[in-house]
Subunit: 335 residues, 2 copies
């Protein structure tokens, strides 16, 4: 099955590039609300499932044990920009559990937030694992291991108790047994299990509504959602779509980006879970796809629509700030 | 027409993402040697035609007037990394024509070569237009304007004598009249005219062989090719495919990357011009496509093949250096 073109890149009067992809939107009973392209195909969810992975942190009791608030919980769900405030919260989380950055197994990379990266270089410093966009998630895994009273070392292995908890939580939310044959290694070295796009959407519908979940898990999910809605800056960072969407919509929208063109989200009031995958891994297109799905499915007023429109039809500017083109969602995606 | 999948991204045992695209390889008479996908569709060539755009610099007489050697000519064809040596040559070119960086209209951006970018920040500096990957091409345009004794200001306008020369040169090489309806604005603010992929390949076949060209233009093309072969570091930079391919093969291969998944090249000894376009604009895939086409069409020995193989099947490593997957050219592309 060839997935449809969902996003076009315009330059001047011509379409310069196109992005194909698939979209699955389902309710918490698994009923399909919107299907575009092949939603049965297994995709690695990558960082888009960080809010689901954070269930292990809450359910381990670490959040209460270490007195974590919304900032820590939001950062555990984050692909953050490595801005100073992100780094500080990751460090604080580790400190509460009696650990430091040396325990992180995510690897180091320069902050994706350019001013933060440049400030680090200006200070004659380089990046540490705390600057890794996944450091909050990893700090969460480490804190969960401590609260579970298991050795925190080796926490990125699929066989480690924390990863087994993570996997079991996603299994139950997605309504599918994740297969070891579909396990890849993520950019930050943790396991990422591929699952059909529609099951990924189902997992988010259940996460957003608590439907079909044991009360304790439903409460943990609600707590994570509330933290992301309260502190969206800690889920991504300055100027980022995830942050801006949740600043605009609060608890009405949960969105989380992942590598290779995956984007997941939920509209809790509508009871809907959303999963999109851009075939070619293009993050610019996945963002347009997610913004367009929200516009299409959520009842929103003019101000909200205007806020989203610049993500549905983002303008392309060149190095001189001249408008040279734009991205646009195709009609199939818009309706 | 739906273009075929030419490159797959593997993670673990699964194909995580795919890239579709088109490939045109033709000889200097326009006879097709290899066609994959829609080669009639117009694409913006972007920076992939910089070697052709440099014809205006040579034909204006500026190269002799200002005593330019291979470094300057190679830099005029470059999408360089903004490394100190690149910046120095761009500055030297402008100086010879009595100009400086303030004449550049390309805009400023941080060097794409990360160590150079970090060194700049560490020194408390920011980027100038000299660091723009196109600064050598722009310096070339400015020098051409001076040699042509026209006002250099406004040299990025399609109506400026230098851009008219550039357009006429591409027109004649590609065997097609570039239409104002197909003119976009490039990232560095110069015009980019869309043309069918097969005509782009034809332009490179003629550029590589001199066939169908007036003697003066054929000589200018040979001089540009020789400069790129002699100084490939100045066409791209440290670790870059264009540089490595031309270091490996010398004058046997000309390759030039462009934005949005365009890659052009030539195999002069075979008399072939090559143009590829990745549908989604993915540069990682365009590079694999170009490497695979070279392996397919050029008679090469084991050492040359080994050098190219890591570009045909590049390994993906995560932040910890762990191999997590690889890119691979599909069978349709390999043969």
């Amino acid at each position: 099955m060839t997935n449809p073109v969902l996003v076009e890149i315009l330059r001047g009067a011509l379409v310069e590039s196109v992005h194909r992809g698939a979209v699955a939107v389902v309710d918490a009973d698994g009923a399909s609300v919107l299907e575009l392209g092949d939603v049965e195909k297994a995709v690695y969810p990558r960082s888009a499932v960080k809010p689901l992975q954070a269930l292990a942190l809450v359910e381990s009791g670490a959040v209460d044990l270490y007195g974590f608030g919304d900032e820590e919980l939001a950062l555990a769900c984050a692909s953050h920009g490595g801005e100073p405030a992100h780094v500080a919260v990751a460090e604080r989380m580790l400190g509460r559990a009696g650990l430091d950055a040396t325990a992180l197994a995510c690897g180091a990379h320069w902050p994706s937030h350019q001013p933060s990266s440049q400030a680090l270089a200006r200070a004659g410093l380089g990046p540490s694992a705390l600057h890794n966009n996944c450091s909050g998630k990893h700090a969460g895994f480490l804190c969960a291991a401590r609260a579970m009273k298991v050795d925190h070392r080796g926490y990125v292995s699929p066989a480690h108790p924390v990863q087994r908890e993570v996997r079991a939580a996603i299994d139950s939310l997605a309504g599918i047994g994740l297969s070891p044959d579909c396990c890849g290694i993520d950019g930050c070295s943790i396991p990422t299990w591929a699952l059909p796009l529609k099951n990924l959407a189902l997992a988010f519908a259940r996460f957003a509504t608590g439907r079909e979940l044991p009360p304790r898990r439903a409460q943990a999910a609600a707590r994570i959602r509330a933290a992301c809605a309260a502190k969206p800056y800690f889920v991504a960072g300055t100027g980022r779509f995830c942050t801006k969407a949740m600043e605009q919509f609060g608890a009405r929208v949960l969105v989380k980006t992942g590598a290779e063109g995956v984007f997941c989200g939920a509209l809790p009031a509508q009871g809907l879970g959303i999963a999109v995958k851009c075939d070619d891994g293009g993050g610019r297109a996945a963002e347009v796809m997610m913004a367009a799905v929200i516009v299409r499915l959520m009842p929103i007023g003019c101000a909200d629509r205007a806020a989203l429109d610049r993500f549905v039809h983002p303008v392309l500017r060149n190095w001189n700030g001249i408008e040279v083109g734009r991205l646009r969602a195709t009609q199939m995606l818009l309706r």
